[in-house]
Subunit: 336 residues, 2 copies
């Protein structure tokens, strides 16, 4: 690989001159700058950012850890992150825990060894001990979509209470009185918040909650199938289900129709996230939309601004979700 020394030799100047020319330093003559750049081009020089990073104390890359890159929710965020990171010449180191939450701290260590300049975390659970350690370090990080209550860190999230209200009130407005809720993991803040709001709304409307009609599970289609099946089994079943994310909802959709409860006729269904699956023809899931791509962008913009300013300004950004009504919800009248 060609280095500045090679260029220096070729042009007949010192390496430092080359360095300055290449980084457009003001204290250099136009002529040598041109010479240097031309030779650099000709030799196919690419600046070694490992070396540069070593002296500047920054690698020019951010770390991104997601819970499951095959879930469109996270790949949307990743796309947002990449968009702004690349625009500023930063690289993005991706780590996918693929559901194994215990890998997270390993990944964070990996990323810190690689000296990423900052971290974007989208898979925090409610009380991750390693986040406390991370907060003690000098590496800036930001939580996206998932909060961790045990640590005071910048975040960009969507108001899950509001989102869940939107969903449940929509069902109530349609006339539903028997509404089930299937959450994600109990140790994920957003999962809890959606559950809390669900219960609040029920209470506000004088609707009784049933133990059997609410439960935590996992943010997967398989979990949706499993819990959905239980919830729809005799003796009594809800006329509507609010699922804490779209993957769960898809699982419910599948199992409900298998069990002979067509949607929305026999069961109304609301998901959460509005991932690309939700708007597919034939699916047309009613769901709560989050600005995922946007969250990735905002988080990265914050991170890069912190990196340039050298000072760590707080960011507690709560975005608004909105309801997308499609074809999986209707009034319960039809079969009453």
């Amino acid at each position: 690989m060609v280095t500045i020394k090679d260029i220096a030799r070729e042009v007949g100047v010192s390496p430092s001159t080359v360095s300055r020319a290449l980084s457009d330093s003001p204290l250099i003559s136009e002529k040598t700058r041109q010479n240097v750049k031309e030779v650099a081009q000709r030799l196919g020089y690419e600046r070694n950012e490992l070396a540069r990073g070593l002296v500047k104390g920054s690698s020019g890359a951010v770390g991104l850890v997601v819970a499951d890159i095959t879930n469109p929710f996270f790949s949307d965020i990743a796309q947002g992150v990449g968009e702004v990171a690349h625009r500023f010449g930063y690289g993005v180191m991706l780590c996918d825990t693929a559901g194994k939450a215990n890998r997270e701290s390993d990944y964070i260590r990996l990323l810190r060894r690689k000296r990423v300049d900052g971290l974007i975390l989208t898979s925090a659970t409610i009380n991750d001990p390693y986040l406390r350690d991370l907060a003690k370090t000098r590496t800036p990080f930001i939580l996206v979509s998932r909060l961790c209550r045990s640590v005071d860190a910048p975040y960009v999230v969507v108001d899950d209470r509001v989102g869940a209200r939107l969903a449940v009130e929509h069902l109530i407005n349609l006339g539903h009185q028997h509404i089930g809720f299937i959450g994600g993991p109990a140790d994920v803040q957003s999962s809890r918040d959606r559950m809390v709001a669900y219960r609040e709304v029920l209470q506000e409307h004088g609707l009784a909650e049933k133990e059997k009609w609410m439960g935590f599970s996992d943010f997967t289609q398989a979990a949706g199938r499993k819990v959905g099946r239980q919830m729809l089994s005799p003796p009594e079943r809800p006329s509507a289900i609010f699922a804490a994310n779209d993957m769960i909802a898809l699982g419910v959709l599948e199992v409900a129709e298998e069990m002979g409860f067509p949607i929305p006729d026999d069961l109304s269904l609301v998901g959460y996230n509005d991932i690309s699956y939700a708007s597919l023809p034939r699916i047309q899931l009613t769901t709560v939309a989050q600005p995922t791509f946007e969250m990735g962008k905002i988080a990265t913009e914050w991170l890069l601004s912190v990196l340039s300013k050298e000072e760590i300004l707080p960011l507690y950004r709560i975005l608004e979700p909105h309801l997308v009504v499609r074809s999986t919800t209707t009034c319960p009248c039809v079969d009453d």
Copy 2:
């Protein structure tokens, strides 16, 4: 950040001793090794891989460039890449061209500046000039799923001719005689190969091909809608369509039913890739499956083995696709 110097001072040995202890060199006493490791742990030391990479001439990261991370096809590959890369302590630098093919060479330059040890490319087009340049460098790279004919590079792909045959023969076996084809971009090798095989099979069975019933487009749902609409418009429409990927197929599915051609009753539909969308309830798309996750793994294993061996052995791996018959195909008899 704590360095080996800090540890050296604390333990009372030289930095080189610390370095050796930390990398489990054989020429060091068990006692000092223990001491060093304990202090390192206590101080929260994390090896600076920028510095390490500088001297070892390797960054411990691979670059991955994909055409669209929100497409499950690519995120599956990415997951496979991450799985093996992380297992060997490598990082993964992700670049998502998000459809803008011209960004690719920029991304490759970015990744080379970051001194990634190797590249995994999944978005090559048929004749990318920058791949020729890349081939001249010392950076190993491998093409996944997409070939570039103008350069002799290692690759892992699925046999698209075979896959397309599977699809078209399935339709013919069902009794279809009027079969349309919607390809992806004309400059993507796999897109062409599927088209070629489609025409071959048609010819072998004595079926005439119609100009109007075949065309290139783009690997997106929007493109599927657009071309699908044209193809299904009067005066005559095919009884079956083979789409070069599942996203296109989904677009066709949508537009066909909008136009009053329920699937599979009035139109049989086959996709390609078997992305997660295809197996969704209500969708149940008949499609040609590729081992995506596996391709990511194989490519990364090859790359890492090349990196460890320092010698660049060839790899031309062609995997076999298989047909997954679901509910979007049936015999044309019903409406004839």
